[in-house]
Symmetry: C2
Subunit: 242 residues, 2 copies
């Protein structure tokens, strides 16, 4: 009997978030910080917390989103399926980021798919709550706007890189980006474990090509690998790759 109670308690804690938004540190990193204490309490009461396992899809391309996700832990990729059947990774989303605001704002179905790259913990906030705050709190709206403006700038940079740089350069920059944004394990390997296919889908190339270039980097002493794990050995030269 007591075990059932413990089980239920843990289960509930996992799936119907018991944390309070007002006290959540995560909100410091995104536009939710612009909300008043009252607004946070209201959101807290109707949000749901979810555990998402590595590889699980959070939402699909074309899906109607009924709210936004606040990422409390873990990393996910945002992808779009191309006509040739390949997924292009458009952005990586980390702890502290919001997920799905774009679609909520434009009231469209999602243009991207979100897939967990490791185990994640997210809070789901219903659309109605977000829209209510967007109506009433200009400070919040402005913060969301700033985030979006920043995403747009980054997207522009990606466009230029895709258009003007070689696969070699793009892959080198991707490794550096992951290194600097998501950090490394104690042994120095990139803490986010991506498949070679993921790398190819970030860079926009064939999986074989990505593998080949990684092998070259290895031969040139720019990186080393242990299984699929990658470690940067010479970041200066990696930055200079042409």
């Amino acid at each position: 009997m007591i075990f059932i109670m413990i089980y239920l308690f843990l289960h509930v804690q996992k799936n119907i978030g018991m944390g309070k938004c007002e006290q959540c540190i995560i909100k410091q990193f995104n536009s939710l910080k612009a909300l008043t204490k009252e607004e946070l309490v209201r959101i807290s009461s109707c949000k749901t917390s979810k555990i998402i396992k590595k590889g699980e899809v959070i939402f699909e391309e074309g899906e109607v989103l009924n709210g936004v996700y606040c990422v409390k832990d873990g990393i996910c990729k945002l992808t779009k399926l191309s006509a040739n059947g390949k997924d292009q990774i458009v952005k990586m989303v980390v702890k502290g980021d919001l997920l799905g605001q774009r679609s909520i704002v434009t009231e469209e179905r999602s243009n991207l798919q979100a897939t967990a790259l490791n185990d994640m913990e997210v809070c789901f906030i219903p659309k109605s709550e977000i829209l209510a705050d967007l109506q009433k709190n200009p400070d919040f709206t402005f913060n969301v706007l700033k985030d979006m403006a920043n995403d747009l700038k980054e997207a522009d940079d990606v466009i230029v890189n895709m258009a003007q740089k070689s696969v070699r350069q793009r892959l080198a920059e991707t490794i550096i980006y992951i290194h600097e944004s998501f950090g490394v394990n104690p042994d120095g390997t990139l803490s986010v474990l991506l498949s070679r296919e993921d790398f190819a889908n970030i860079v926009g190339t064939a999986t074989e090509s990505a593998i080949r270039v990684l092998s070259q980097f290895k031969k040139e002493g720019l990186i080393s690998t242990t299984g699929k794990r990658i470690k940067i050995e010479n970041i200066e030269d990696l930055k200079r790759v042409e």
Copy 2:
């Protein structure tokens, strides 16, 4: 004497806009429509109207923007200089669009350069006015947010196209895009006259490659050309290009 007065009148009308924002039809097409009559009157009193000639730079990459531009007429390209010295065209801006909001919102220098593709008429609205309205009018902020969300979606699409489609496909789609977005002259040629280099800089390829592919399209009867002007001859097959 009378001629000097007429000259001055015309000059003033050109450079210090005498039109009234409240009555301007252009505002229907952008987020300024969310402003109240009073706000529009205020903006009207401090905006300046400018004529920009084809080829002129409106603002450069890295420049501090002191306001936004509302495009009353004409078309311009937004470019970013890549490390290899080539300009990448990231977006084309038309009559009705606003220019520079992103930088104003994030209070950063412009990440893009804006260059007129034909003669333009724009109104410059000082930063202080825009920011004041963003503070006070949540409806306006939300409209700017919607625009930005839309730009972001389009940028995501461009990323995927750049990453996953061939130069041939991208060029075909560019021609169709210009055809459908900016229309054609009476003779059926694209109304926006772009150089082959511009096409290359949209598609993200070498100028020679763009020229070569256009020649192929001509041989295949998909398009025809008169000088640098391009006319779509078979839009269905152009859409099917692989």
